[in-house]
């Protein structure tokens, strides 16, 4: 039952979260801010992934291929050419490179389906990882690449940049998913033959999804490099990083975009809270993720929606 008095909770909740998010640096320690900064970038990774999987129906097991391309392109440019190029040029170049990677990834996606495409994305990550290791003089190899520039040394500023970036990316991706394009994408993901018979160019729409997903992944990867000051395989490319992103998106609730962000913040936060337990922490978080995926396949947001529908 809809009553006149009840205000739709979504805009209200969004406003509260935004206000809390913006004002946090005034009350919180640098440690928490640093943690959340990483969480916010991870949130963008997860949201970009959700656009591809949840809507276009493409199972990308290698989100870090796109992220790594963005991060390393930006990092290498800066390391080689600083101080002759501005940070934002490097970041933009990273995003562009990721888009190129996204288009490359889309080509096999339009030919092979399901598990085979998933395999292609995994191999793409391994190739990128090997390239980074082999061309160590350029990329820093296994030790990592340190960049001369950082965005800011203030934890608060870094936090605000990450938060703002996440909010803007989230708004764009969420808006897109709710727009007619999102509907057509979802229809193409569910039943490509029928979408074609309804007059939609499925290939074009999927390519678009790849480009958007790659753009935001690359942008977030590049920005994160200039927050951390280094780029390494273990933070940007390793398969386990990709798995974390996928778990975050599924935990939060797939096909929701916003859920992916919630999942990412939760996952990073949990990992940190449980850190005193040592190796046990990873295990606990994994078990929790497994539990949610098994019993609430629609994730956190799915649980909420399920309850509101039932009540």
């Amino acid at each position: 039952m809809r009553s006149v008095l009840r205000v739709s909770p979504l805009p209200l909740a969004t406003l509260v979260v935004l206000l809390l998010g913006v004002s946090l640096p005034f009350v919180s320690s640098g440690y928490v801010l640093g943690l959340l900064t990483v969480a916010f970038y991870t949130a963008v990774f997860a949201m970009s992934w959700d656009l591809l999987f949840g809507f276009a129906g493409e199972v990308n097991f290698g989100p870090t291929f796109l992220i790594g391309l963005g991060a390393y392109t930006a990092g290498i440019l800066d390391a080689r050419l600083a101080p002759h190029v501005a940070i934002w040029v490097c970041v933009l170049a990273g995003a562009v490179m990721a888009v190129v990677g996204g288009v490359l990834l889309a080509l096999p996606a339009l030919r092979v389906r399901g598990p085979y495409f998933g395999l292609v994305t995994l191999v793409a990550v391994l190739i990128l990882q090997n390239v980074v290791v082999v061309f160590a003089s350029l990329t820093g190899g296994e030790i990592g690449l340190s960049v001369p520039d950082v965005m800011s040394i203030s934890a608060s500023t870094n936090y605000w940049i990450a938060f703002g970036f996440m909010v803007v990316s989230g708004a764009v991706l969420f808006g897109l998913s709710r727009s007619p394009i999102g509907l057509v994408l979802e229809a193409s993901g569910q039943d490509a033959v029928q979408a074609g018979a309804l007059g939609f160019n499925v290939a074009k729409h999927k390519l678009f999804a790849f480009i958007v997903s790659a753009f935001f992944s690359g942008l977030a990867g590049a920005l994160m490099v200039f927050y951390m000051g280094t780029a390494s395989v273990s933070t940007f490319i390793d398969i386990s990083v990709g798995v974390q992103i996928i778990i975050a998106a599924v935990l939060g609730g797939r096909r929701t975009v916003i859920g992916a962000a919630i999942g990412a913040v939760f996952l990073i936060g949990m990992g940190e809270l449980l850190r005193p337990l040592g190796e046990l922490a990873t295990l606990l978080v994994s078990v929790m993720a497994l539990f949610v995926v098994l019993f609430f396949p629609d994730g956190f947001l799915g649980m909420l929606q399920g309850r509101s529908r039932g009540g």
């Binding site: 727009s179 007619p180 057509v184 229809a187 029928q194 018979a197 007059g199």
Partner: protein, 484 residues
């Protein structure tokens, strides 16, 4: 409106459609009919651009559309009503219809109010006006079909293709759909109905084209096509023959298999409705019905593969709650339509797996007996199952089922897609089983010619129900016309 000339579609070595020609005028409803595997659906999908034609031309209002991708075919005015579809489950009915109205552009961030009005009008027209705000998972089956219809006509296609328009619908729903489809004709659109038999669409169509094994076999009014010799032969076989054997005296005995009032639902579609049948020990019973009649579903219910209501009793015991494995061990072995061979194993390995429960001596003896029954399998012993021809695969599937020493063998559509010469071999093997063993067989077939000679008794199934039961000799006189 539509002119198809010399259309051929090949999948690898399989010729699905061979040199097919037909045409439809605006304001005309054409029925394209044929038994399962005749290529009618492939022909329809090729017109829509889902499949690329191998040869031939498809002209829409004089322009070639053959080989164009489906979204371009759609834009030129062709719409397809899918039989199965996956609607957007999290969006409402209204939003689902709106999707079909959206332009194929990436600049469309906001849908216009006009789209909303159009979507409501279409929903009203197909009878979805009352459920606009519901989501597809909560809709009854007929409404899901209406939603498909709504999406297909959203762009005002000049040519509407409808795949099995009445499958799974009740009589009153069929009437409502017929009216909607007749409405397209009244508006001057061309309509192509694809269905299994003439009977289902005869009231609606202006003309019928019949297909068999990818080829055009007859054309004319529904009545003409039903009278056509070739069509009768395809559906009923030439002269309906039967091989009598010493009649099985079953009076007073309890049937080995007793199925009572079984009902199976797939989501919202009622696939099997209140079916009762029985099979006596040693009896060969055929269940005939067209594709989609519910035969396979019924078999799966008996084998415990799908949940069902009603009771299935085997050798006096209720099978409710028994696992498929327990049922198979109990002696009911199903040889499925899809064969389910282990494609990467040899013929012999497939057979040995079938007989893994037997001891070595018995297995060897059984293998020998089967190689005797299907001589070709002995020659193919070391060949990988996947590389066998269709007929050989079918023989292997039957042989593997027989390795399990079934008491009741359920054979589902063994003749599907096989050449006549293979049918003869299978037919002989069945004859031998019938005359030399105590095996009980339940055979599901749409090919009556094949089913009739091997039957002690016959059931006819249609739209999930048993519509006739009797002896084979009465089939032609009593129900053959119903079957066309």
């Amino acid at each position: 409106m539509l002119e198809v000339r010399g259309l051929t579609k090949r999948f690898g070595g399989l010729v699905a459609v061979k040199d097919l020609s037909f045409s439809i005028r605006g304001g005309e409803i054409l029925g394209l009919i044929g038994p399962n595997g005749s290529g009618k659906s492939t022909a329809m999908r090729t017109v829509m651009g889902v499949e690329r034609p191998t040869a031939g031309s498809i002209l829409l209002e004089g322009h070639e559309i053959g080989g164009l991708p489906s979204h371009q075919v759609a834009r030129r005015g062709v719409g397809l009503v899918f039989q199965h579809s996956r609607p957007l489950n999290r969006q409402t009915v209204l939003e689902n219809i709106k999707v079909a109205l959206l332009p194929d552009r990436l600049t469309m961030i906001f849908a216009s109010a006009e789209v909303d009005a159009q979507a409501r009008a279409i929903a009203e027209r197909v009878g979805l006006g009352a459920v606009l705000q519901r989501k597809p998972p909560t809709l009854p089956f007929a409404d899901l079909r209406r939603l498909e219809l709504a999406k297909a006509i959203a762009r005002h296609p000049k040519l509407v293709l409808v795949d099995e328009p009445f499958a799974g619908l009740t009589a009153s729903e069929v009437a409502a759909f017929s009216e909607l489809i007749a409405g397209f004709r009244a508006e001057g659109r061309a309509v192509l109905l694809v269905d299994h038999n003439v009977k289902g669409v005869s009231a609606l169509v202006d003309r019928v084209v019949a297909m068999y094994l990818g080829e055009w076999i007859a054309e004319g009014s529904a009545a003409d096509v039903m009278r056509d010799e070739t069509v009768r032969r395809v559906y009923l076989g030439g002269a309906l023959t039967r091989v009598a054997r010493g009649s099985l005296d079953t009076s007073g005995r309890t049937p080995a298999l007793q199925v009572d009032d079984v009902e199976v639902r797939y989501g919202k579609a009622l696939a099997v409705q209140g079916v009762s049948l029985h099979v006596h020990e040693g009896e060969f019973v055929s269940l005939v019905g067209l594709n989609g009649a519910g035969k396979t579903t019924l078999f799966n219910a008996i084998s415990g593969l799908v949940p069902h209501n009603g009771s299935v009793r085997w050798a006096g015991a209720d099978l409710a709650g028994a696992t498929p494995a327990a049922i198979a061990r109990g002696g009911i072995v199903q040889c499925p339509e899809t064969r389910e061979l282990f494609g990467d194993m040899t013929v012999r390995e497939n057979l040995e797996l079938g007989g893994h429960g037997l001891d070595d001596a018995e297995r060897a003896q059984r293998l020998e007996w089967l190689y005797d029954l299907f001589a070709i399998l002995r020659d193919r012993e070391r060949q990988i199952a996947r590389t066998l021809s269709g007929g050989e695969q079918q023989m292997l599937a039957i042989a593997r089922a027989l390795m399990m020493k079934p008491k009741l063998l359920i054979l589902d559509e063994p003749t599907l897609g096989l050449a006549p010469v293979i049918l003869e071999t299978l037919s002989k093997a069945l004859d031998r089983l019938r005359s030399t063993t105590r095996l009980t067989v339940l055979l599901g077939e749409q090919n009556v010619t094949f089913a009739l000679p091997h039957a002690d008794r016959l059931y006819v199934m249609d739209h999930g129900k048993i519509v006739w039961e009797g002896l084979p000799e009465r089939f032609e006189a009593e129900v053959a016309d119903n079957y066309l």
